[in-house]
């Protein structure tokens, strides 16, 4: 597109819009950056009312935990390089190495491997390198930083178990939600009947329901499910309470209305001639769906999948009530730090846990950012 004179912007407009973006970015990032800073300090520093104390952490430094200039410089460089890599290099590699139908799996594997490599380099190799350099140059720490809360959370409190549970629940929700949702979305997009319309409207009203009402209704049924189902299933009737599978089913259902609306509008933007042609060639609806539609539907599915992921990963109401301790996911586990009897240390540990669970979300957005925009552009919400 050639930039004509009229499209060129005046200086005032340019400055105004840049200034606006800068202010917004500060507001958007500040609370999150701030809790990340808090999580590395001793409790006294973390809740100090002077921001300089929180930043520099004098108490933490007094305990002999801190970073030298070299640590900071190397750390920041590495962080910057990884962000660049995740945004520019990784998407290309993933697309090059995975067959088209396996793109979603390819992405998951790629993102996982990248996260693991980052953790090993950042927490395994980097401290050794900088430790050597510091000893060599005789540098003193200038900023108080301590990873004790992270160690307490991940090692002592076995937070990795919650992480694995979250992984199980989110993977389950995304997979089932997309499978069921794409089928329904396709059916709804290709049927102009009144039934399809009313299903959509009812789904919309379901989406508006307050969740606490639904969830409170599940608890007694889930706890007593063995007794309720015994007449039907005999002695093998399961107790649904505490079962990740049951929670997956609940989360999928709660999210179904949004999923089918979203996917329906994606499918509406895929020309109907495409599958009609396949049907003329003798395919059934299912075959047409499998061989003609599936290859071209990925942008929409990835975008919708991301929203399902966010819902399952961030859910608190359903998971806290319906899962027992052995299967607890991360968000309710963090809320557990804030119950009736907590100490300041517990709170900082909760902050550290909160920052840890935000990290995978960071990575996800870094990698999928373009897919979100291009997916939405491809037509999610045009209809």
């Amino acid at each position: 597109m050639s930039t004509s004179r009229a499209l060129r912007q005046s200086f005032a407009l340019r400055a105004g819009s840049t200034g606006f973006l800068v202010i917004w970015c500060l507001i958007a990032a500040f609370p999150i950056v701030w809790i990340a800073v808090m999580s590395f300090k001793s409790p006294v520093d973390a809740f100090a009312s002077n921001p300089i104390d929180v930043l520099l952490g004098p108490e933490t430094r007094a305990q002999g935990k801190g970073l030298t200039l070299i640590d900071i410089l190397l750390g920041l460089t590495l962080l910057w390089a990884s962000i660049k890599m995740a945004m520019n290099w990784l998407p290309g590699k993933v697309e090059a190495f995975t067959p088209k139908d396996w793109l979603l799996i390819g992405w998951l594997v790629g993102a996982g491997a990248f996260a693991l490599a980052f953790l090993v380099v950042f927490f395994g190799i980097l401290p050794r390198v900088t430790g050597g350099l510091n000893a060599l140059l005789g540098l003193e720490p200038i900023i108080g930083v301590s990873s004790e809360h992270y160690i307490a959370v991940w090692v002592e409190n076995a937070f990795y178990r919650n992480f694995l549970n979250s992984l199980l629940v989110t993977t389950g929700v995304v997979t089932v939600s997309l499978t069921v949702g794409t089928l329904a979305g396709y059916g709804l997009a290709r049927s102009g009947s009144n039934i399809a319309f009313w299903i959509l409207i009812i789904a919309l009203i379901f989406r508006a329901l307050p969740h606490s009402v639904l969830v409170a209704g599940y608890l007694p049924v889930f706890i007593n499910s063995a007794e309720i189902l015994r007449p039907i299933l005999g002695e093998n009737a399961p107790t649904l309470y505490g079962q990740p599978l049951a929670v997956i089913a609940v989360l999928v259902s709660i999210n179904q209305p949004f999923t089918i609306w979203m996917l329906r509008s994606f499918f509406q933007n895929i020309p109907a001639e495409l599958d009609e042609a396949a049907r003329v060639d003798g395919c059934t609806h299912f075959q047409a769906f499998r061989w003609v539609i599936m290859p071209v539907m990925w942008p929409g599915v990835i975008t919708t999948g991301l929203f399902s992921f966010l819902l399952a990963y961030n859910d608190f109401l359903v998971t806290s009530l319906l899962l027992d301790a052995q299967n607890q996911t991360m968000v309710p586990a963090i809320a557990g730090y804030f119950n009736r009897e907590t100490t300041t240390t517990d709170q900082v540990e909760a902050v550290a846990a909160a920052v840890s669970i935000t990290a995978p979300l960071f990575l996800l957005v870094m990698i999928f950012q373009r897919q979100i925009v291009s997916g939405l552009t491809a037509g999610a919400v045009k209809g």
Binding site: S42, Y160, L219, N224, E227, T239, A335, G336, E341, T343
Partner: protein
């Protein structure tokens, strides 16, 4: 799935191999417990886990889950952790079992004081007591030449002096977060003024002279508090103490230990405890007594109950108390009251003694109604009488629904 199983198996075997030496028997029955999640419970369930095959669930939603989970057959948990408030639904629905024969067989180390008896039957075994009492900064009191207050009028006088001296941000702290905490603060003061919550026929009786006096005293106290007192719970008050922002508060005994925690507190050694102040001369200290303890589910086999009780006894033994002495005011043999336990013991042994928190269905309804309606008095939307009338109206609606009042 597989990785997860391996990880859990690994964690379990770690617990297992470290264990058994400390437990007097090897437990082979799977025992699950559902309790609240504070430090004392952590120590108790860790000690139970040493016997092997114990899965402890420390859950902030236990109040919601416990009644339903114990009502199933077989019960989803064998051991439950309760306090005098939360034992009520289990007692009402008959889902916990009498423990007398088990106590006779395995409870040789229990003190008679620990056995919670309902109509002569032991229904629960208590492990600790908790109460709200006065904590104060002894250094500030010494500097200003103040006496430790024993009544709330003296508390107000001391607060005024501290305010004039300007040594702290706010002379007083209060656990007055709207909802449960605020209602509990009212309960303390109301009982201190000799009030009774319900009449014989279970109709409400809080809109009384004692109720109005209690509210006015709380309002007078709140003038010396952080203006954000309606969002301040016990953790917040504890932090205010630790950061040296307040000089006095009526705070839970279980919070006292945190004052001497060097990693969090800037006032190590400067906080002392004393008996809960009186609201009126000759009355009881304006507070309530609480206990925490264990119950066993009814819906399980006698063999399981046997194993569960033995495991629980391991959790409540002297060895556990020695390792966690300052986490609570333990009732268990071997507890050595520390410096900070003075206030709790003085409160519990006061004469006339403070009442235990009443564990009745009506009290549950009343507590909720108080928590929902009292904030209107403190924000100035209603007078004391209007707020208490609203409490009574909400209580009546709920009591009619529950079938308590016709």
């Amino acid at each position: 799935m597989k990785i997860r199983h391996i990880a859990i198996a690994g964690a379990m075997s770690l617990i297992g191999s470290a264990g058994w030496a400390a437990c007097s028997f090897e437990n082979t029955t799977t025992i699950k417990s559902l309790t609240a999640g504070f430090e004392a419970w952590k120590s108790v369930t860790d000690a139970m886990a040493e016997c092997g095959n114990v899965e402890a669930e420390l859950d902030q939603e236990f109040r919601t889950k416990q009644p339903a989970a114990f009502a199933t057959n077989p019960s989803l948990y064998q051991i439950g952790g309760v306090s005098n408030g939360t034992v009520t639904p289990l007692l009402n629905e008959g889902t916990i079992r009498p423990l007398d024969d088990l106590v006779a067989r395995y409870g040789a180390n229990l003190k008679p004081n620990q056995l919670i008896k309902i109509d002569g039957q032991t229904m629960a075994v208590a492990m600790m007591v908790n109460t709200q009492h006065l904590m104060y900064r002894s250094d500030i009191f010494a500097d200003l030449g103040l006496e430790v207050p024993s009544t709330y009028d003296e508390v107000l006088a001391a607060a005024e002096k501290i305010k004039e001296a300007g040594v702290v941000d706010y002379p007083l702290g209060g656990t007055m977060k709207s909802g449960w905490n605020l209602a509990q603060d009212f309960n303390n003061m109301f009982l201190g003024y000799g009030g009774g919550f319900v009449n014989e026929d279970k109709t409400p009786a809080v809109n009384s002279e004692a109720g109005v006096k209690a509210l006015n005293m709380m309002k007078a106290l709140s003038a010396y508090m952080d203006p954000e007192y309606l969002v301040s719970d016990s953790t917040y008050v504890q932090q205010q103490f630790q950061q040296g922002k307040i000089a006095m508060a009526n705070l839970w005994a279980s919070r006292a230990g945190a004052m001497d925690d060097a990693a969090e507190s800037q006032v190590v050694g400067k906080v002392e405890t004393a008996a809960a102040p009186l609201a009126m001369a000759g009355g009881t200290p304006a507070t309530t007594l609480w206990w925490d303890g264990i119950v066993l589910a009814k819906n399980m086999s006698d063999e399981e109950a046997d194993a569960a009780f033995r495991v629980a006894m391991e959790g409540l033994d002297t060895e556990m108390v020695t390792g966690a002495n300052d986490q609570a005011i333990w009732l268990i043999e071997g507890y050595q009251p520390g410096r900070l336990a003075t206030g709790a013991i003085a409160t519990a042994t006061a004469s006339p003694a403070p009442l235990p928190y009443p564990s009745t269905t009506e009290m549950g309804l009343m507590h909720t109604a108080l928590g929902n309606n009292l904030p209107d008095f403190f924000t100035g939307a209603k007078s004391a009488e209007e707020a208490l009338a609203a409490v009574e109206a909400e209580y009546l609606t709920a009591a009619k629904e529950a079938g308590i009042v016709e």
